[in-house]
């Protein structure tokens, strides 16, 4: 690794050099450079949230036209017109985000592309207001056309502010939540992260950034042409962020800078000196395409990924003394109602009945086992309780309240945590970060304190970190804290999942085959740990095939077969039950 320390600099220095060259040689292009860098950030936001949106050109157009109309027709200064245009973009993004963000991948791309075209058609159809297809009546009278230097300074400050915003967000719980949901939205939602809200936030923020870039674009060009906001523009903006990489924000600035400066350089240096190259008007495009292709092939993570290799992972150094296990959060007063009740819960997948009229109740502080042959519906039941999908019929009561229609993140916040049979860690994040994501809903900070980096922000982060480290230590994983989670062995990954779920301090912990991939000794240790959890007041529901574990630690066992409950009772009673022996345990 150390041999490649030059790599980041070998990538960054030429780009910065290129950009500086443009600044000095051709100050006229500086505005364009800065605007494209800002546009690159707008594409980064959506890409980072795993939204393949091509709406940026549309929002850029809205920002451009709205600010121009307000400034020229109403005669208001840009201090009013630009913020107003940005707010308009935010409002439009909120409205169209509602239906559009339900779509995924290519479908989202097509829909947002349609949105961009719609904006353009609206512009063409309203010539009185926008100048229509020619932009005629918005071609003069830009109040700040003459203030070239001021405008460039403002753009510089704006880019710096945005860079700070991204830097602060990326280090906060919000940035961590984005990283988590982009890797595994399902797991993120069971950590209490409202993935719909986060996606909406990303879409709106992206629209606002594109809007402000568009507004400055209008004022710096000094005339408007709807042709500037076509499909190509959307692709250009996306390519800045793709080149930069969707993982880290500064990559997009580099990407935007590179793809803007390169054609300018080619025009300046080549175009002027070598006459015959003038015949190749498309040359800059070809070279840009080539550069993009090379980066995608050789740096699949984008330009920013060159920093990833050398980046120091947070080490386990800060581990404190081994602390007591955390107690479950019992914010709601102890109630008379049982902790969890299932009433005639059924779930169908197409014509297949995965679960049929299953009912049982759980008292707080006990350990429940859920056993049955493979395919009996055990994982389906866990998925229903944790809110990944609702039951087809029946009720699930948590402390007496119906929760069967609640989404996963609200169930997580109510105090139900889970692990997954097929491990669902955030594989690219470190072990420690995974567990800190479990603390997400407990970290009490506001957007303001994140942006201003108030002392409280640091305090909350440090205490979440310490909590997470203490949990890792209790599970014997402290040494692995700084490792990429995906690198761990199967059994270790299972324990990280348990630590991550415990970080939520849940009242009910659902474990789906926690001992799969563990040997007998490790299984026994896990059993001791689960009993310790019980002592601390946790309630557990455990799906497991290791019968010695189940029989030893459970207070009560529910047995499923073909989606039906066939037995329930103490381990002793269940292990003598004729039906259970027949269907599951076998006789010998």
């Amino acid at each position: 690794m150390s041999g490649r320390r030059w790599l980041p600099w070998a990538v960054v220095l030429p780009i910065v050099g290129l950009d500086l060259f443009i600044c000095v040689r051709n100050p006229g292009d500086l505005d364009r450079l800065l605007i494209n860098m800002i546009l690159a950030l707008s594409a980064f936001v959506t890409l980072h949230a795993k939204l393949l949106s091509l709406a940026n050109a549309g929002f850029m157009a809205i920002g451009a036209y709205a600010s121009a109309i307000i400034s020229i027709k109403l005669g208001l200064p840009i201090a009013v017109s630009i913020p107003a245009a940005v707010l308009l973009c935010a409002g439009v993004a909120l409205v169209i985000g509602m239906p559009v963000l339900k779509l995924k991948d290519v479908y989202l791309a097509i829909c947002t592309l349609g949105f961009g075209e719609m904006v353009r058609v609206l512009i063409i159809l309203t010539p009185d207001l926008t100048g229509g297809s020619t932009g005629a009546n918005l071609s003069t009278g830009f109040p700040y056309e003459a203030m070239k230097q001021t405008r460039t300074w403002m753009l510089g400050v704006l880019l710096a502010l945005l860079a700070y915003l991204f830097w602060a967000l990326s280090r906060s719980r919000i940035g961590r939540a984005f990283r988590a949901l982009r890797e595994n939205p399902q797991a993120a939602s069971t950590m209490g992260i409202d993935i719909v809200a986060y996606r909406r936030f990303a879409f709106v923020l992206s629209a606002m950034i594109a809007g402000v870039a568009g507004a400055f674009y209008a004022h710096s060009v000094g005339s408007l042409d709807n042709g500037d906001f076509k499909f190509n523009r959307a692709l250009d903006i996306l390519s800045y962020a793709v080149l930069g990489g969707s993982g880290q924000w500064f990559g997009s600035i580099l990407g935007g800078g590179f793809l803007t400066a390169l054609p300018i350089l080619l025009r300046e240096v080549l175009g002027a000196s070598v006459g015959f190259l003038k015949n190749f008007a498309q040359l800059p495009n070809i070279i840009n395409g080539l550069a993009l292709l090379l980066v995608v092939i050789f740096l699949p993570g984008g330009l920013a990924s060159v920093f990833g290799a050398g980046r120091k992972r947070p080490g386990p150094a800060a581990a404190g003394p081994v602390r007591e296990l955390p107690d479950p959060d019992k914010a709601t007063a102890p109630s008379e109602a049982p902790l969890l009740v299932l009433e005639d819960v059924s779930r169908h997948f197409g014509g297949l009945e995965a679960l049929g009229k299953v009912g049982f109740r759980m008292q707080e502080g006990l350990i429940y086992g859920l056993i049955g042959p493979n395919g009996a519906g055990k994982t389906t039941l866990i998925n229903l309780v944790s809110g990944l999908f609702p039951p087809s019929s029946g009720r699930i009561l948590w402390l007496g309240r119906e929760i069967q229609q609640r989404p996963a993140h609200r169930i997580a916040r109510a105090g139900i945590a889970r692990t997954f049979q097929n491990i669902q860690l955030f594989r690219e994040m470190t072990v420690l970060e995974n567990v800190i994501v479990g603390r997400h809903t407990h970290i009490r900070t506001s957007l303001l304190s994140t942006l201003l980096r108030l002392p409280r922000e640091g305090r909350e982060e440090r205490s979440a970190r310490a909590d997470a480290l203490a949990l890792l230590e209790r599970l014997g994983l402290a040494e692995l804290a700084g490792q990429r989670a995906g690198n761990l062995s199967y059994g270790d990954q299972r324990r990280v999942e348990i630590a991550r779920a415990l970080a939520m301090h849940p009242r009910l912990l659902l474990l789906d085959e926690p001992a799969a991939g563990m040997n007998e000794i490790e299984t026994r240790k896990l059993g001791a740990f689960i009993l310790e959890l019980k002592k601390h007041g946790y309630t557990l529901l455990i799906v497991e095939h290791h019968m010695d574990l189940i029989m030893k630690i459970c207070d009560e066992i529910v047995v499923l077969n073909f989606g039906r409950k066939i037995a329930q009772g103490t381990p002793a009673a269940v292990s003598r039950d004729e039906q259970v022996l027949e269907a599951y345990l076998g006789r010998d």
């Binding site: 062995s489 199967y490 799969a516 040997n519 345990l585 076998g586």
Partner: protein
């Protein structure tokens, strides 16, 4: 007689983690060799390096006298070394039949492929009734059988099994180990990674015990089954 598989000084790293550090062992044709060890001891990594799914960072793998170190996974399968992956890796949207057909992808003689398919269904009667069913709708135990059956379709000389009993109900665990015994009786050599150390020791001829990426103990399984250290560390009191 030359060994079927000869592994020398095998190393596997993931970033800064050294998962396998200089592992050497041989597998003789016709044997069942099991690898046991704690979590993170390097068992799965060893299998992945043998089958080419992970590139070894050092050492050599010689299979049937041919150096296959660092070859692509598909080339290794063609040479007769086939892995059943941990977690089964069944092709969910395909039918049981199609999964098996793909297992025989590298074979030319379609009639022989059909015959192998019938043999697989004979070995796993539970799958025979579900030939047109989507693999994703099978239960965990049936998926594991399908994964083994799919690997057998390639007519392996050496079959690598990574935790075949994981996540299976007690009744099925017994079935799976019976099946492995049947496969070896039919002449296929098996290298088995298992957490269920007791069962692994019972059905294998030789056992390798890994700890921290190195060999901790190795020898005939019958001897290790009686070794107090192994009993203490992996089996517990019966």
């Amino acid at each position: 007689m030359a060994a079927l598989l000869e592994v020398r000084d095998l190393e596997v790293r993931y970033g800064s983690i050294e998962a396998v550090c200089g592992l050497s062992f041989t597998v003789q044709a016709g044997q069942v060799v099991s690898i046991i060890g704690a979590n993170g001891a390097g068992k799965s990594s060893t299998l992945l390096a043998l089958s080419g799914l992970v590139r070894p960072s050092g050492g050599s793998v010689v299979f049937q006298g041919e150096d296959i170190t660092g070859l692509r996974a598909d080339r290794i399968v063609r040479s007769g070394l086939v892995q059943v992956p941990e977690g089964r890796a069944i092709l969910n949207p395909l039918t049981v039949d199609e999964n098996l057909e793909l297992g025989g992808w590298i074979r030319k003689d379609q009639r022989a492929v059909r015959a192998s398919m019938e043999q697989v269904y004979a070995l796993f009667p539970g799958l025979a009734g579900r030939r047109r069913q989507l693999a994703g709708s099978l239960s965990g135990g049936e998926q594991q059988m399908l994964a083994i059956g799919r690997a057998l379709m390639a007519e392996p000389r050496l079959l690598l099994l990574d935790e075949p009993s994981m996540g299976l109900a007690p009744l099925l665990v017994k079935t799976i180990f019976d099946t492995i015994a049947a496969i070896t009786r039919a002449g296929t050599t098996v290298l088995l990674v298992e957490q269920n150390a007791r069962q692994a020791l019972r059905i294998s001829d030789q056992t390798i015990v890994l700890a921290h990426g190195r060999i901790f103990r190795e020898g005939p399984s019958a001897e290790l089954l009686a070794d107090p250290v192994i009993i203490e560390a992996f089996l517990g009191k019966a």
